[in-house]
């Protein structure tokens, strides 16, 4: 209950941030600009609209999630609001979870708004909307939840700048995970092979959330896969939040 109350205030604070509004406007412009590219697309207009739109949502979503996540706890400490919260009988993990849920709600709102514009555009171009297009947006949201959790976790032990850098770094690593695993598997050294494999379990595989290729080629993705991917995203986020809770517990405020 306490976490939920905290979530609601965090959400209200988050959506009042100007940077979010600016990013949202840029996202709209970016997604809309796909209509301009179609002129150069060599007969692949719908592919361009879908690809630019989905990638735009991802990129702006990443920015939104990173900026929200990294500032959640440090600002509280800076503004000394945290004392008021911690003076109440509330566990520190509850604080982390509450703040995270509030930010997640804000990310959800942003994804919904971007998604509506994007789906409108696809419908305008294709006169239909394949379920896989909607599912791609859903998975993008869960991918962003993991990124948000990463940013929150890093911010509990690193400076703001460092947490942004780390979040971006791990995102890139995670989205290249398939290739890294493949290349690691081809290594001659068994030690390196094992290391890469172990590393693969620790680093989130963001490719799991990427069904953009299926959207572009109009291939259906089974519901059971979507369900499993969502579970994976939630588990990852939960694990990251526990780590964040552990660091926060140790932190002298």
């Amino acid at each position: 209950m306490k976490a939920i109350a905290l979530a609601m205030t965090t959400f209200k604070e988050a959506i009042r941030k100007k940077v979010l509004l600016v990013l949202l406007v840029f996202a709209f412009i970016f997604i809309g600009s796909s209509l301009l590219f179609t002129y150069f697309s060599g007969g692949e207009e719908i592919r361009m609209v879908k690809d630019v739109g989905l990638t735009g949502m991802l990129v702006f979503g990443l920015l939104i999630a990173t900026f929200l996540g990294m500032s959640l706890i440090p600002t509280e400490i800076e503004k000394r609001i945290i004392y008021t919260i911690l003076s109440k009988p509330v566990r520190r993990l509850e604080v982390v979870v509450g703040k995270y849920l509030g930010a997640a709600l804000a990310v959800l709102l942003m994804v919904l708004l971007m998604g509506l514009v994007f789906m409108g555009l696809v419908f305008f171009k294709e006169h239909s909307l394949a379920p896989v297009t909607v599912l791609a947006i859903v998975l993008t949201f869960f991918e962003l939840l993991v990124v948000l959790a990463m940013a929150v976790t890093f911010s509990t032990f690193a400076s703001t700048t460092l947490s942004v850098v780390l979040t971006i770094f791990f995102y890139i690593l995670g989205s290249s995970s398939d290739s890294l695993q493949y290349l690691g598997g081809r290594s001659d050294s068994p030690l390196l092979k094992a290391a890469v494999k172990g590393f693969g379990y620790l680093i989130p595989n963001f490719e799991i959330f990427n069904i953009r290729s299926q959207v572009l080629h109009n291939e259906a993705v089974p519901w059971v896969y979507i369900f499993k991917a969502i579970i994976y995203g939630l588990l990852l986020s939960a694990a990251l939040l526990i780590v964040a809770g552990m660091f926060f517990q140790e932190k002298e405020v």
Binding site: G42, T55, D178, Y201, P222, A239, G245
Partner: protein
């Protein structure tokens, strides 16, 4: 303080335990998802190590990078920048191997747009081969898409004249559901080229029976009449005049004596018909024509008079001149009178559907036989064509099922 620190470690223990629990579940979920991704064909297969490195570098932006390059590919094509087009096609295909368009458009660039204008036969040949290999790669990534099989079959049919290797690909496209109706037509065409006329007939019949009539009807009746195009390359039918095809024909050596023999045996083909050069004056009534005739008899110049009074807008300004023409180019009534006139003689009044003519013949060129020197190219084309036909028939009779087997390309 001690109590507090003991409390903390207790909480930490709980966190750690929870973390380990979640982690174990996650490993299983992830493994399960990874098998799913292979099962549902979500991970691009058959990627080379370099493709993997490329994929790793662009990560989540693989498709958008492919799209950017696709757009640049289009501009390289329009500016004719082949040097940059070729590697770009390759990159797009590596980034997004499921992008069907890039395989088919890429192969089209190789086999046609780059190959046709290339100046050297070697480059033409190499580009056609590259297009073939490129499509084979595309099929490896997308075995269940009819487009690529069909494209490869067409490439071999049209560019390589290799019907033997074209057939399995076109048949593979035909075996895939949701293929468009022209795929079946191409199977029939290929069978015909291979001399398997009965099978081709059966397919055309099947098309007609299923209501897919428009090209089927003509082809079926043609085959029934025994007019078969066994071994006849497509270009012979379409006369596209492409340099590549010319190269093929140029390969065949024809001795002068053979040209002469053909020329002597087919002189009727090289006769030039009788021609006359004439002027005319067109008038709307017989009375007006009679007045014109009177003025001409008084010695007025024909051309000058034509410019003044002729109502034929097309020739009035040039003194009624009709230039050189042979029989059959004018309406019959006109022809009959004009070809009967002697040089520099003027006709009477000739009535045609256009009105009333007065005709003057200025020059007569009798029918003549064109010299071999004048018609050498046409004679050579005929001889070469016959040679190809004979060659194919001989090979087929000997049991070969082959298109134009003896013509192989080498650098000239």
């Amino acid at each position: 303080m001690r109590g507090l620190s003991g409390n903390i470690s207790k909480a930490q223990k709980f966190y750690l335990l929870a973390l380990v629990g979640i982690f174990i579940i996650m490993v299983f979920v992830k493994k399960d998802i990874e098998t799913d991704r292979i099962k549902y064909d979500m991970v691009p297969e058959n990627l080379s190590p370099s493709d993997q490195v490329l994929g790793g570098l662009v990560g989540a932006f693989r498709e958008i990078t492919a799209d950017y390059l696709w757009v640049t590919m289009d501009s390289f094509f329009h500016s004719g920048d082949w040097q940059r087009l070729v590697p770009t096609i390759d990159l797009v295909a590596r980034l997004d191997p499921k992008f069907i368009q890039v395989w088919s458009v890429g192969a089209w660039h190789f086999a046609y747009n780059i190959s046709v204008p290339a100046s050297s036969v070697k480059i033409k040949e190499q580009m056609i081969r590259q297009g073939d290999e490129f499509l084979q790669r595309g099929i490896k990534h997308n075995p269940h898409i009819y487009d690529l099989h069909f494209e490869l079959g067409w490439n071999r049919f049209d560019r390589q004249l290799d019907y033997q290797r074209a057939l399995p690909e076109i048949e593979a496209a035909y075996a895939i559901k949701d293929h468009p109706h022209y795929v079946r037509h191409m199977v029939a065409h290929t069978l015909e080229r291979l001399g398997r006329i009965e099978e081709a007939k059966k397919l055309w019949k099947q098309c007609i029976d299923e209501g897919d009539c428009s090209p089927a009807f003509g082809n079926y009746s043609r085959l029934l009449k025994g007019d078969c195009r066994t071994g006849v390359p497509m270009y012979k039918l379409r006369n596209r005049g492409q340099e590549w095809e010319k190269c093929l024909a140029d390969k065949i050596e024809v001795p002068e004596s053979e040209l002469e023999a053909y020329y002597n045996a087919h002189k009727d083909l090289y006769m030039e018909p009788e021609k006359i050069q004439a002027r005319h004056i067109l008038l709307s009534s017989r009375a007006a024509a009679a007045r014109v005739l009177e003025r001409l008899e008084k010695g007025e110049d024909f051309a000058a008079l034509a410019s003044k009074v002729s109502i034929d807008k097309g020739t009035q300004e040039i003194g009624g001149s009709l230039g050189l023409f042979s029989r059959g180019q004018m309406v019959p009534e006109f022809d009959r009178v004009a070809f009967a006139l002697k040089e520099n003689h003027i006709s009477g009044i000739v009535k045609t559907k256009f009105g009333y003519h007065v005709i003057k013949v200025e020059k007569r060129i009798p029918a003549r036989l064109k010299s071999l020197k004048e018609v050498k190219t046409q004679v050579r084309d005929k001889v070469v064509d016959n040679k190809i036909q004979a060659n194919v028939q001989r090979k087929l009779a000997a049991g070969y099922r082959w298109g134009v087997p003896e013509i192989k390309l080498e650098e000239k």
